[in-house]
Symmetry: C2
Subunit: 157 residues, 2 copies
Amino acid sequence: MTETADNAERDLVLTRLIAASPAALYRCWTEPELMRQWFTPPPFKTVHAENDLRPGGSSLVVMQGPDGTEFPNRGIYLDVVPNERIVFTDAYTSAWEPSQKPFMTGILTFEPEGEGTRYTARVRHWTAADREAHEKMGFHQGWGTATDQLAALAVTL
Amino acid sequence: MTETADNAERDLVLTRLIAASPAALYRCWTEPELMRQWFTPPPFKTVHAENDLRPGGSSLVVMQGPDGTEFPNRGIYLDVVPNERIVFTDAYTSAWEPSQKPFMTGILTFEPEGEGTRYTARVRHWTAADREAHEKMGFHQGWGTATDQLAALAVTL
């Protein structure tokens, strides 16, 4: 994937070499039972996940805060290639219901590298301002901790 | 398709019974040579069309004004069912490059009705304000004239 200057302004990227197969990482991102185990840094929990893995299929992840408040995150899948790539966005809450605000598109890739997988999560925003806001909301720490949990789970599969 | 109150606020809809087959209307929307013949109310012309008909495939239509100025319209397809349905949006300029402003999602359906086809173009906006702006830009007249041209062409196929 070519990184243009324009994309650098709008993208937040996390990449890591993980000692697990692309298939194991893909499972962690697509099986609700696995997703609940790694997706949320404590003290938050992931209490529900739905994954209709096809272009236009719905994605719903419900996170729960320490006081029990639930935070549903709705989106749709745009592109799904098993064990290789998942693209999703919050621009729609279902096919084809526009969301209140198109904020981000997530592009996940799982590439074989050595004995493991080069895992890259690219979060692309519609505007540079949204990218900056997401970074200030704690993107790097939040996604970093979640990715530690993802890697720890994937190596056991 | 259920019309909710919320969608009524964000949708512009044109529907017409056309004496042509769903396949003929689908061809008019997907074959560049046909698209150039009906897509633009005069004095504008459609001088170029590209249609990569798959989820994430690019759509490019270049319109030309009477003084020769060209207006490229870039988008992507989200859902394509031959002879039945086409969904596209300008929220991306290609897969998966966010556009400057997500403005609309077009949902076209071609349903057999009697000897002809119930053609419905539903243009759904992210906000009620964008819907209103599109209406004031002349949606009904522009799409109405284009649909007259579409129907005239489709019955000859």
